[in-house]
Every structure is written in structure tokens, then in C-alpha cells.
């Protein structure tokens, strides 16, 4: 029973797969072009220096988004000021001290960060409003918003930073130990500088994530469109502005488009810096190993 012929294979399967793949890519690309061109077209009509710096008028239908940009930046700053030290500290702990830690506590830390990473943002907003606004008494404020956002970006920051720290070539640690350097010095002078590009990438990613956030801020930072005078004032971010104007203010679409465009440009800028940092990081990585 020795077969002498192999049957012809089915070329239609190959063609079907290839066609479907191209079709899918076409659909996605078309959607992308549709979305972006729509926002670009409508948004650019509102864009101007005036728009970026002046106050909103007429419930936001006209005027600018100056105070909103300021609030956005303030909330971002608070978020980073809180998240970076805690995030970096946790990442260093996970990367450098994991062997000395109790395995159960490690599992708990990683597990809780995983859950935090997947947490629906509105639930985080609920927590933020109950904890920061009410319990700690900060009320609707930029401070509350920033702290809530810090909770949100922490898992992302920790994950990226930890990876960056782990990627630092092992030889650096062993040669430092052989030279009798303390843990502290090794970290400060060798490991963290080497991991710095990756940590920067993590920070940049977190900024992108924070800028995109809306639900967590509605009940923590509030809705106010005035220029904030302190971090205890309420303020709204670009994303909330887009939401409010399109849902609650008839005729506010135009400003929404403008704000959306500003937001996208900001995010594009962040995206490009991440890519640039990544290049820088990878060339450094190869030089190390």
C-alpha cells in the first residue's frame, strides 16, 4: 500500500486567506482615515493661538480652551509627581529584591497590580470620589483628579520600569558586587541610569494613558471651566471638555472637534517621542549586552 502520487494541494485556501487579510487591512485603514480626516477637517477650523489661550465663552460654544489646557497640565503634573516615585520604588523592589521577598507577598503585589491595571476607570472614579474627595476632604479638585489618575497609571509605569530594570545586563550587578559597592550605590549610579530610557518610555506611556482618561475624572476633578488658581480648585481636562460639549451643550460640537484635534496632536507628539526613545533605548541595549 505504497502511495505513488501526492494529490494536488488546495490553492483556493491560500487565495482566500490572502484576500481576507488584505480586505481586513483595507477596512481598518479606511476607518482610520475616515476618523482622522473627519476630526482634522472640522477641528482645524477652530484651531488658532487664540483658541489655545483664551477662556471659553458661551458655555464653551465659542472662545478658547486656555484654562482647560492649564488644568490638564496641572492634573498631569500631580499624577506624575505622585506616581513616579511610588512606581519606581515598587519597580525597583520587584526587580531587585524579589528573591529576598516572601513568594506569597510577591504574588499578592503582582496580582493586585494586574487587577488595578484592568480596573474599569469609572470604578476608579468612584473610589477617587469616595476616598480623595470625601474622606480626605479634597473635594472636587485638581488634586483629587491627579491622585486618582496616579492610581490608574501606576500599574503601567511599574510594569515598564520593572522590565527596563530587569533588562540591564546582569554583569553590571555582579561586577559592582565584586568591587564591594553597596546596593544603594549600584542602584543609583549603575542600574537606574542604564534603565533610564525604558523608564522614560514608561513615563511617556503613562502620560498618554492619563491624557486619554475621562471617566475617572468626572467625579474627582469636576467640571469647572474657569482658570484654576490652585490645585484645590476644580478644573476640567481636554477629554472631559470634549465629552461635556458634545453631550450636554447643543451646538458645542465645533469646540469639541477643536479640542479633539488638540488632544490627538498632543498624543501624536507623545507617540513619536516614545518611538524615538525606543530607538535610543534599543541601541543602548545592544551596546550593553
Amino acid at each position: 500500500m505504497i502511495p505513488t502520487q501526492f494529490n494536488k494541494t488546495t490553492p483556493w485556501r491560500d487565495k482566500l486567506l490572502a484576500t481576507s487579510a488584505w480586505l481586513a487591512a483595507a477596512i481598518v485603514s479606511l476607518f482610520f482615515i475616515w476618523l482622522l480626516s473627519d476630526i482634522l477637517w472640522h477641528g482645524i477650523q477652530r484651531l488658532s493661538w487664540d483658541f489655545l489661550t483664551s477662556d471659553p465663552l458661551d458655555a464653551g460654544r465659542s472662545g478658547g480652551i486656555g484654562p482647560i489646557i492649564v488644568s490638564t497640565l496641572l492634573i498631569l503634573t500631580i499624577c506624575l509627581v505622585v506616581a513616579i516615585p511610588i512606581g519606581l520604588g515598587c519597580a525597583i523592589y520587584l526587580a531587585e529584591y524579589a528573591q529576598q521577598a516572601h513568594p506569597a507577598s510577591l504574588r499578592y503585589i503582582r496580582g493586585s497590580l494586574d487587577v488595578l491595571a484592568s480596573m474599569p476607570s469609572i470604578v476608579l472614579g468612584l473610589f477617587g470620589s469616595a476616598f480623595f474627595c470625601i474622606l480626605l476632604g479634597f473635594g472636587f479638585s485638581i488634586l483629587s483628579g491627579g491622585l486618582t489618575l496616579a492610581c490608574m497609571v501606576l500599574p503601567l509605569l511599574i510594569r515598564t520600569a520593572e522590565q527596563g530594570l530587569r533588562d540591564v545586563a546582569h554583569e553590571h550587578r555582579t561586577s559592582a558586587a565584586a568591587l564591594g559597592l553597596s546596593r544603594y550605590s549600584t542602584l543609583l549610579h549603575i542600574i537606574i541610569p542604564a534603565a533610564a530610557p525604558a523608564i522614560m518610555v514608561g513615563i511617556v506611556l503613562s502620560v498618554g494613558r492619563a491624557l486619554a482618561e475621562t471617566a475617572a475624572l468626572i467625579y474627582t476633578a469636576g467640571y469647572v471651566t474657569r482658570m484654576p488658581e490652585s490645585i484645590f480648585d476644580s478644573g476640567r481636562t481636554l477629554s472631559i471638555h470634549i465629552y461635556d460639549l458634545s453631550m450636554n451643550v447643543p451646538g458645542g460640537n465645533s469646540t469639541s472637534y477643536g479640542s479633539a484635534l488638540v488632544l490627538i496632536i498632543l498624543l501624536l507628539f507623545i507617540n513619536i517621542s516614545t518611538a524615538w526613545l525606543n530607538e535610543k533605548y534599543f541601541t543602548r541595549k545592544f551596546k550593553h549586552a
Partner: protein, 277 residues
């Protein structure tokens, strides 16, 4: 073109061969050159391959031997910037032609890599996947082919009863023999072997080498090897490669006996007698 290469230019015509065997040709290359972007891997290789014999390709690292045998089944096309020039004739057809059925070519000529490459699937699926791909539909035929091939390489006794286990649980030598069996199951005409023993321990290496020797006559084999003793042991014909002007070149070709006992070219002489490379 130096005088050393003059006789190689005439090689494509069997009647002008310098070597004593007037054997049937399985395939021959004509001025084959391969470029990766601007860098040439090898240039101007015109090499005949005799049917049913083992042809060894020897020479130091970096001479394009691996690139050469891979280009025979057009594996260079997987690399974006690779460019090939020249011809490869098999049964009167240039197999570098665009219109050629690549799937059939790779069924007829198998390639064994230096490091064993079993699929991370079960032993059985390592066979059924390529067999089904090439059109074999009946389960009993597939089982039969697998058993025959495994017997051919001497693995049947060792793996029968473990056919559902992952192929990656086999030892290095067993994996390499599995890869050879897998290629044999497709009923090829020829096998290309890229240093098949260099990643194996001495014991497995002997087993694979004996297997290869046993495949002569039934199959045409081209084997790249760094092991001169191995080439002397099992190869009928030998081709010596060397790096010249930054590209791999075919320096000399002939029967193994002639290459090792009576090398014509100075470089060949130096290499086989261990003085350089």
C-alpha cells in the same frame, strides 16, 4: 578569470569534466551568485551534483556554503534584500525560474538544518503536517509513510509507542534523525544537509553520519561539513570553497580521493593538509 578557474568554466558540460567519474548529473549550477544587499555571499559557482552520490562541500566558515545549498531550494527568497544571479539546472529546467512550483521543488529536494528543527508538536504531527500539506489525505497512508521513514533512519524502535509525545522531548541526535525522516517521508529525490552533525555529541554524530551514508544510491546528497575526516569517510565527491575578493568561490571540485590525495590548487592543498582555514 584566472587559470585556476578556467577548467571550472567548462564544467556544465559533462563531457568536459576533469574528474574520473562519468556519472549521471542530478543538477548543476551555472555561475550562481548570491548578494545580500550589496554584499556577495558567494559568486560564480558552477558546480555539478552527481546522482546517487554524496557531494561534500568543505571550506572555512563564511565562504557561502550554507547560503549556497539554501539557494538551491530558493530559501534565500525569505530574506528581503537577497538577490540571485546565474542558473540552477535540474532535469533540463532552470529551477530559479519565477514560474516554478516552489512547493514541489521543496518536496523533491529536502533541507536539513545544522541545529535540529522539529516542530514543537507531537512526533506524529511532525510527519502528518507536511504530508497533508503536500496532498496526502488518507490517514493510513500517512501512518505508513511515517513508519517507513522512521524505520529508514533507525528511529522506529525508539519512538514507536511515543508518537504522541512532543518531538522536543527527544535527544539532539534523535531530533536530527527525526528531521531527516520527516524530509524522507516526502519521497524526495535529493537531500541538502547543512553540517548535520556539528550540533550533536560524538555518539549521535556517528549515528547520523552512518544514516547519511546508508542513503546513498537511493538519494542524491549534498552535505556541508567542517569535519574533513567525515568528508573523507563518506563523501564520493568533494567541492572546496574559499573566500576570495570578499565572496565565497568554488576553488576546486573532484572525487574525494583526488581532492584529498592529489589537490590541484594550492589553496586546496593547504586546507586539506591542515595548514590554513
Amino acid at each position: 578569470m584566472t587559470s585556476n578557474q578556467a577548467h571550472l568554466r567548462a564544467v556544465p558540460q559533462p563531457a568536459n569534466h576533469n574528474h574520473p567519474q562519468r556519472q549521471k548529473l542530478y543538477l548543476y549550477t551555472e555561475n550562481l551568485s548570491l548578494y545580500y544587499a550589496e554584499q556577495a555571499a558567494f559568486m560564480d559557482i558552477s558546480l555539478p551534483v552527481c546522482q546517487g552520490k554524496i557531494t561534500a562541500l568543505i571550506g572555512p566558515s563564511g565562504c557561502g556554503k550554507t547560503s549556497f545549498i539554501q539557494s538551491i531550494i530558493r530559501m534565500h527568497e525569505l530574506t528581503p534584500y537577497a538577490r540571485i544571479a546565474g542558473k540552477v539546472y535540474k532535469h533540463g529546467q532552470n529551477i530559479l525560474d519565477k514560474g516554478l512550483d516552489l512547493v514541489q521543488l521543496r518536496k523533491r529536494i529536502g533541507l536539513i538544518f545544522q541545529r535540529p528543527t522539529p516542530f514543537p508538536f507531537s512526533i506524529r504531527k511532525n510527519f502528518s503536517l507536511p504530508l497533508k500539506e503536500h496532498g496526502m489525505k488518507r490517514h493510513d497512508e500517512i501512518e505508513h509513510m511515517m513508519e517507513t521513514a522512521l524505520k529508514d533512519v533507525g528511529l522506529w524502535g525508539e519512538v514507536n509507542g511515543r508518537l504522541e509525545h512532543p518531538a522536543t522531548t527527544l535527544s539532539g541526535g534523535q531530533q536530527q534523525r527525526l528531521c531527516i525522516a520527516r524530509a524522507l517521508a516526502l519521497r524526495p529525490e535529493a537531500l541538502l544537509l547543512d553540517e548535520p552533525c556539528s550540533a550533536l555529541d560524538p555518539h549521535s554524530s556517528r549515528a547520523v553520519e552512518e544514516l547519511i551514508e546508508g542513503l546513498k544510491e537511493r538519494y542524491t546528497l549534498i552535505m556541508v561539513t567542517h569535519n574533513l575526516a567525515q568528508a573523507k569517510r563518506i563523501a564520493d565527491l568533494t567541492a572546496f570553497f574559499w573566500l576570495q575578493e570578499n565572496a565565497g568561490r568554488l576553488i576546486e571540485y573532484g572525487s574525494t580521493e583526488q581532492i584529498f590525495k592529489n589537490p590541484q590548487h594550492a589553496l586546496t592543498q593547504a586546507y586539506v593538509q591542515g595548514r590554513s582555514g
